[in-house]
Amino acid sequence: MPNAGVDVWIANRVSFLDPFPPITGLIGRLKSDTTTEDATRDVRRLTPPLPANQYYEGVHFEIRPLAGRDRHLYIPLFVLLILAAVGILVLALLNVASSLMARANARQFEFAVRNVFGAIRSHIFTQVMIESFVLSSSGGLIGVIFGYAGVRAIRQLIPESVGLTRLQMTHLDPTGWSFALGASIIMAFYLV
């Protein structure tokens, strides 16, 4: 698979200085009427040639779809990342909710005055709701900027040598913005 960390590709030429460069990958395009299972059966019947000085038993070829070939490498990393993100989200919510709760206690007088002037319970609820939306949408907007910086950092800081080349495809698009919007709305409901 062409690596995202590569700067220059050269068509192979066998040089007298380096006649057999090491192979790092072998990629095949299946015929239109061939499935991966068919191709697996096809290559398993072939015996890989082995040099005389190497002794392996039962050497065989295997085929893996390129699209999902290296996903298993990312599972431990993402378990860790998702746990960290959920932890940060919960901590931030608890922190903000406790601050707002203390503030709401201090605003009892304000709500009482509004009540005297005719505001019913739903009016006060709506006001608090909108304040939460203002807070969380402001946070969401700045969060998108943080997210953009995070995505750039992933693409630039993770060394290519670790082999997690799929991370180089990380980008922020309308789906990401929708995620931020959804997270802001859920947070606003939680904070009410």
Binding site: L26, K31, F179
Partner: protein, 228 residues
């Protein structure tokens, strides 16, 4: 409101006059309804006013929310890129990686003979391509040296994966002397995004630089934006 007053009067045939408290209540309801359109705007303004009243408290809250959303968004985008998106190749489902294992399912290095066996005897592939070494080399362009990662590939690789370059053409034949394909990043970094097609660059191995050996460079560099 007028209709309601008339309705109330009609329901109370014993009195042609309206009670003052009822009128007051109806008027207050009408005013509330008229103001309801602006009410949301007023509440939004009130929300911002609350933010201004306690800037430190709310700035802390906004930053906490922003940080949490920023981290979640970054993880979400990375998760999506890794697990939910297909590689940027034409018909990626038709692309497979061929690997070699021993009886204990330990990977065995691929060799050029394996490529030859598969190319000659397998019936499942419309094309096979090789990826080879991944050395770091030096480029010399207009008396500037830069470090680059180089990958040798079989010339049909880009045809197999179905990628077209942004400018120029893909590698087509190993017999084309010294043509290379540049990544978009290298094009920006080394050549500052200038015109490079047809210009010469020199590529040299680090290990052989001191001996004065230069691997011959390019006469027709092109660029491509690739990832995967």
């Amino acid at each position: 409101m007028h209709d309601e007053l008339e309705l109330h009067a009609a329901n109370d045939p014993g009195s042609r006059r309206l009670q003052p408290d009822i009128v007051l209540r109806l008027m207050r309801g009408a005013v509330n309804r008229m103001l309801s359109a602006d009410k949301t705007l007023v509440d939004v303004k009130s929300g911002f006013r609350q933010l201004r009243k306690r800037p430190a408290l709310y700035a802390g809250s906004v930053l906490a929310i922003a940080f949490a959303i920023g981290v979640s968004l970054t993880v979400f985008c990375a998760f999506r890129a890794v697990f939910l998106q297909s590689p940027p190749y034409s018909d990626p489902d038709g692309l497979v990686s061929i690997e070699k294992f021993d009886a204990d399912h330990r990977p065995v290095p691929l060799r050029h003979n394996d490529f030859n066996v598969l190319r000659e005897h397998s019936r499942s592939f419309s094309g096979l391509a090789l990826l080879m070494g991944y050395p770091e080399m030096q480029t010399l362009f207009e008396s500037r040296r830069s470090s680059v990662r180089v990958q040798r590939v079989s010339a049909n690789l880009f045809w197999i994966i179905g990628v077209t370059p942004l400018l120029g053409r893909v590698l087509s034949s190993p017999d084309t002397p010294g043509s290379v394909l540049l990544s978009s990043r290298a094009w920006q970094r080394i050549f500052s995004g200038g015109s490079v097609i047809g210009r010469k660059i020199l590529l040299t191995r680090r290990a052989t630089r001191s001996s004065g050996y230069y691997h011959k460079g390019s006469t027709c560099p092109t660029r491509a934006s690739m990832s995967g």
